[in-house]
Every structure is written in C-alpha cells, then in structure tokens.
C-alpha cells in the first residue's frame, strides 16, 4: 500500500521554533482573561438585581461554577500558552507554534508573503508588547505571533518586509 516515492528518512522531526515570546505576554493573557471574567461578573450582578425569585441558591451555584472554572482558566491558560508559544524567522521562512488546548505549528515561506502587520491592542500597549501578522495569498494562512516585545516586533517586521520585497510572485 506504500507509494514508492515516500522518503527513506524514517522520522523527519520538526524541532520547536527557536524563540519564546516576551515573558510579559503571560501578564497580557492574564489581563485578557480577567477582562472576560469581569464581563461575566457584570452579568452575574445584573442577574442578582433583576431576578425576583426569593431563593438565591441558583445565583451562588452558578457564580461558584464560573468562578472556579474562570479562575482556573485565568491562572493556567497564560502559563500554558507561554510554554507553547514560540517563533522563528529565517531568510526563507517564518515558523510559529501557538495555542494551548488546541496547538498548531505554522510555516509560511517568505516568498509567498503578501503583507506584514504590526498590531497593538490596549493591553499590549500598556505592557509594551505587539503582535505581528504575516498574510499570504491564502485566506487560511495568516501567521500571527502574539506577545512580542515591541522592539523585537519592529525588527521582525523590517526583516520580513525586506525579505518579501526581494521575492516575486505570490502564487495566486
């Protein structure tokens, strides 16, 4: 059943990308989780005042459930993410690893890069962080690196832009 031209090399392994993101990214993800929790809390408070039923037990139960789940999320997710998120750029390609429960590795050859974006959300600005998004001609292929130190991100954008200019053709 094996096609003849499968390479002889038994186990080519992709190593992890070389660089971690900024340590402050953990703080950024924590803050983002806290914002989500605050929205949930607002909903809970609103429910407390709107509800006319005499029993307050459902409120305590629901509140306890999301507090435990949300708290675990806010504590575990950022650390987990930080351990997973990595990136590396070579003159030929960009290679990233991201996610926590769902993880993915993405590789895009620089010859197919169309645009390079640097984005800074409010939390990222507060912490001096930035994310870099590299788009190719495929709608499915944007590569985003979150939580880079701003100087690192700027340097990366310059390097990628220079590399993208020297290559021709985007395979559309």
């Amino acid at each position: 059943m094996e096609p003849a031209d499968v390479p002889v090399d038994p186990s080519p392994v992709l190593r992890e990308p070389a660089h971690r993101v900024s340590r402050r990214a953990v703080l950024m993800w924590t803050l983002q989780a806290v914002v989500v929790l605050a929205v949930l809390l607002a909903g809970q408070v609103a429910w407390w005042f709107v509800d006319d039923a005499p029993s307050r037990t459902p409120h305590w139960v629901v509140g306890a459930v999301w507090l435990v789940a949300g708290g675990a999320y806010a504590v575990a997710m950022p650390q987990w993410r930080y351990r997973v998120h990595r990136w590396e750029a070579t003159p030929r390609a960009i290679y990233t690893q991201s996610g926590w429960l769902w993880q993915e590795r993405r590789i895009a050859p620089l010859s197919r890069v169309q645009t390079v974006d640097l984005e800074r959300g409010p939390v990222a600005q507060l912490l001096g962080l930035a994310s870099v998004t590299i788009t190719t001609a495929s709608a499915a292929g944007p590569v985003t690196i979150h939580g880079l130190d701003l100087p690192v991100a700027r340097e990366l954008v310059d390097a990628l832009t220079a590399a993208a200019v020297t290559e021709a053709g985007d395979a559309t």
Binding site: P3, P7, D9, V13, L14, Q103, I107, T136, A140
Partner: protein, 493 residues
C-alpha cells in the same frame, strides 16, 4: 472622454426595467387586485415607469469600461464616480451569464473575477454576447501571440473568437466532456440535488400561500395524504423530491460542455434557461477535486470540480468540471486535466488505528447521546416503545459511518501533487498541485496530541483556501512536509 472607453450594450436599457418589474411583481399584483375592487381611476403607479427608464439611461450613460495600460477599468456613477480597476494579469475567471430576458435580447452579463475575490469582481450588465466573448478573449488570451501580435486592444476591439451562440467550439479547442442526458438519473442522489428540491418546495409554498382562496385545495390534499398508508407517503415524497432534483439538474446543467483551448483555458457552458459560460485561466488552476458523495458512490458515479483562485463564491457550480457522471467518464476526464495516474486514482496511505478509533468515537458519541435520550424518554415520560427500535439502528449506523469515514481517510504525495481524501457522506479526493501550496499548518487538539496524530493543513490561494490531511500520525505529517517542501524542513529540522 479619453481614448478606448466602451459602453454597455444599448439593449441593456430594456434589461434593467424588466428586472425591476419582475422583482416587484408581487407588489404589482397586489395593486392590480386592490384596484379591481375600487373605482379609483388614478393610475399613479405608472409614474414609476419614467423613473425606471431614466435610471436605466443614466446607468447606460455613466457606465464605461476600457482596457488600457495592462488594466481593465470600470467607471460608474453620476454624483459619486466610482472607478474599479483590475490588473489584467490578476484576472482569474470570467463568467458570461445570460438569463432568459438577456437571451431574448442577445445579451450576456459579464463578471470578471480577480485574485482578491468578492469585492474585486467587475460586473458588466450587460454586453451583447459577441462583445462579451470578445472581451473575454482579450482578457484571457492576452498572452496568446495571435492576439498580442494584433494592434493593442484599446481602440476598436479586435475581432477574435467571434462565435455564434450555437456554433460548435472553435477549431483547435478540445472538447473534454459533453453532458449525456442519461446522467440525469444521478440528480436525486446528491445533496445538491436534494437541497435545490427543498429550495423549490419552499419557494413554491411561499408563492402559493399568497393565494388564500386556494387554501381548501391544500386542506383537501392534506387530508387525502393523511388517509394514505405511510409507505405510500414515503414513495410519494421520494417521487416528488426526485422529480424536483431532476428539474434543478436539468435547469443547471442542460447542455453542459467542457472545452479546453490551445492555451489550456478551461471553458464550461451550461444551463437550460439561464446560459452560463465560465472561463478559467489555466495558470490559476491549482488542482482538481473528485467528489463521491455516498449516493453517487453507491451508483458508481462521481463528479469533478476545479481548484482555482478567483472563484471564492462557488456560485452555483461555476467550479464544476463535470456534473455527476459515471466513474468511467469522470476518471479519464480528471486524467486529461491532471495527467497523474497515481494522484487521480492511485492507492492512498491510510492513517492507522488512532485515526480509526477517532472516527468511530466521533460517530458513536452523538448517536449514543441520542440513543440514551430515547431510552430516558421511554423510562421517564413513557414515550411510545416503538421508538426504541431506533436505538440499535442508530448505533449500527454510527459504527458503519465511522468505519466508512476511516476507509476514506488517506493521503499520498506524487512528484507533482499532494492528494488527500476524507469523508463518507461527502467523500472528496483533492489533488492539489505541489507548487500551489503556499504554507503549512500542523494542528493538534488535546486529544490528537494524546494519541499522536495531527491534522496537516496545506494552505493555498485557490478553492477552499486550505486542504486538510485529517488525523495523520505526526511523523507521517512531517514526512509529507519534508517531501513537498524539503527546503522549509531543512531550516527547522
């Protein structure tokens, strides 16, 4: 006005009022019905007519297009002038659509798609069929020495490819496939066919419900149906749905013809009432997709689609290279478009026991949940016991589905193509050109990591934008990567 601007065909002046008329037909009917019962003789709705005509004239006067400096420009609007331009080398596909009223006037709507997709679409509504074909030839054959040798296409358009509507394909064009009327038997076997049947039923019932005086017909009909035994109902339903699916198939694919010119441009023509011609630039084709939905597979049939950029909205089958047809027709056709025997019909590498377990779990969990709910309903609310018959059916069906989905899973790499197959009810085999792949993803969910499999995603600018090799063992995923993009892996291995 500068050189080279061309207008739409003057006959489009009739098209726009006609379309407006059709769109407001229900409102007009309502007005007529309302009028019948009153003595008011003031025909104020007629004032709309000059407005409509004026709008049409305005559109005709203000819309111009030209081909100049390697771009096609479309200029519209009186107060807000809007100019859309597209570089000629970004033109991917060109659609010529002629609905009934277009055909009566000898017109066709020309839609030009470029790399960017939806918002980069240039629509010329309408040109005469000849002018549309000429424009298409200018746009797609721009690299043809026969065309580039001629004066530049800015002045009077050069007369290339002037074909009467029903003429055979021009000499030199290769006829790849022509619809055989016997293929219509496959229409009820596809989800597309059933969906269009459902759409027709919905449309018809909405239309009929406007005529309230005929409700008694529905009531009589309903009570007549209710008196029949259940298997007659099922047969009736099957019959009606099949008829509708066949009708939709005939409307869409009647006279289907796929040709290829000497530059490799693929050209389809189809439709019973609405004629649609699609031209796909060969340089933009990144592969083909063989579809074998369950129904077609059981009947020994399949269909063929093209993977290309510029057809983001898969508009009613523009990407179809062959409607449902016997495998003995489709497979050789696929081989003529992508002459790679191993990719089109060769054996695939299967994905192993972990993938098999995952397919079974995914089929069994929802079926098990429904079965449990049925049992619970029987025990708690005393539902009718005959429903419990469904429980073993559900479970057996789920196992069969999971096994079939596993059998479908497979991939292979040939010197030119990456091939991936998956799905049971909607099985598809994608043959993707290796040089059309512009990036990779290796995705792993929590459960996939535990059993050491991954989903390998090849991203591309064409078709669905990404094609997946599902639940492949991680080392096999990397092997595919290494084989298709060895230079990339060399950097990170």
């Amino acid at each position: 006005m500068t050189e080279g601007w061309r207008r739409l065909d003057a006959r489009m002046l009739l098209v726009h009022p006609l379309e407006t008329l059709v769109r407001f037909l229900p409102a007009l009917l309502a007005i007529v019905v309302f009028r019948a019962g009153s003595d008011d003789s003031d025909r104020w709705e007629l004032y709309a007519v000059p407005v409509l005509v004026a709008f049409g004239v305005l559109r005709w006067v203000t819309t111009r297009y030209r081909i100049a400096d390697g771009q096609i420009e479309l200029r519209r609007g009186l107060f807000t002038k809007q100019t859309t331009t597209a570089r000629l080398d970004k033109v991917r596909t060109i659609d010529l659509t002629a609905q009934l009223h277009h055909r009566a006037l000898g017109l066709a709507k020309v839609e030009i798609s470029t790399a960017g997709g939806q918002h980069d679409r240039l629509v010329l509504d309408s040109l005469s069929v000849d002018a549309g074909r000429r424009l298409r030839a200018e746009l797609l054959h721009r690299v043809d020495p026969a065309v580039t040798g001629l004066p530049s296409p800015t002045g009077t358009p050069v007369a290339v490819d002037v074909v009467p509507v029903d003429a055979p394909p021009p000499v030199g064009d290769e006829l790849l496939v022509r619809l055989d009327p016997s293929w219509i038997r496959y229409a009820p076997l596809t989800v597309t066919g059933l969906a269009s049947a459902a759409a027709i039923v919905g449309f018809a019932s909405q239309g009929l419900s406007r005529f309230s005086q005929e409700r008694s017909v529905f009531r009589d009909g309903a009570s007549w149906v209710a008196r029949l035994s259940w298997w007659v109902d099922v047969l009736l339903l099957l019959g009606v749905v099949s008829l509708l699916a066949v009708g939709a198939y005939v409307l869409t694919f009647w006279g289907f013809r796929l040709t290829r010119n000497r530059l490799g441009t693929l050209h389809t023509r189809r439709g019973l009432l609405t004629n649609r011609e699609t031209s796909i630039d060969a340089a933009r084709v990144r592969g083909i997709r063989l579809d074998e939905p369950l129904g077609l597979r059981l009947a020994g049939a399949r269909r063929l689609k093209v993977v290309t950029s510029g057809l983001l909205r898969e508009q009613g089958g523009s990407d179809w290279l062959c409607p449902p047809a016997p495998a003995g027709v489709v497979t050789p056709l696929a081989l003529r478009i992508r002459p790679d025997e191993a990719a089109v019909s060769g054996p695939l590498r299967s994905h192993g026991p972990a993938a098999r377990r995952r397919r079974l779990t995914r089929a069994l969990v929802p079926a098990g949940a429904v079965a449990a709910a049925l049992v619970a309903a029987r025990l708690l609310w005393d539902w009718h016991g005959s429903l419990l018959v469904l429980v073993p059916l559900l479970l057996v069906g789920a196992v069969a589905l999971g096994r079939d989905r596993y059998r479908a899973l497979g991939h292979t790499v040939t010197p030119d193509h990456l091939v991936s197959r998956h799905g049971s009810l909607d099985r598809q085999r994608v043959v993707l050109d290796r040089d059309g792949i512009i990036g990779w993803k290796v995705e792993q969910s929590f459960f996939q990591r535990r059993v050491g499999v991954a989903t390998l995603v090849a991203t591309t600018a064409a078709g669905a934008q990404h094609y997946d090799v599902v639940d492949v063992p991680l080392e096999q995923a990397y092997a595919v990567l290494a084989q298709v993009s060895p230079d990339l892996l060399a950097d990170f291995a």
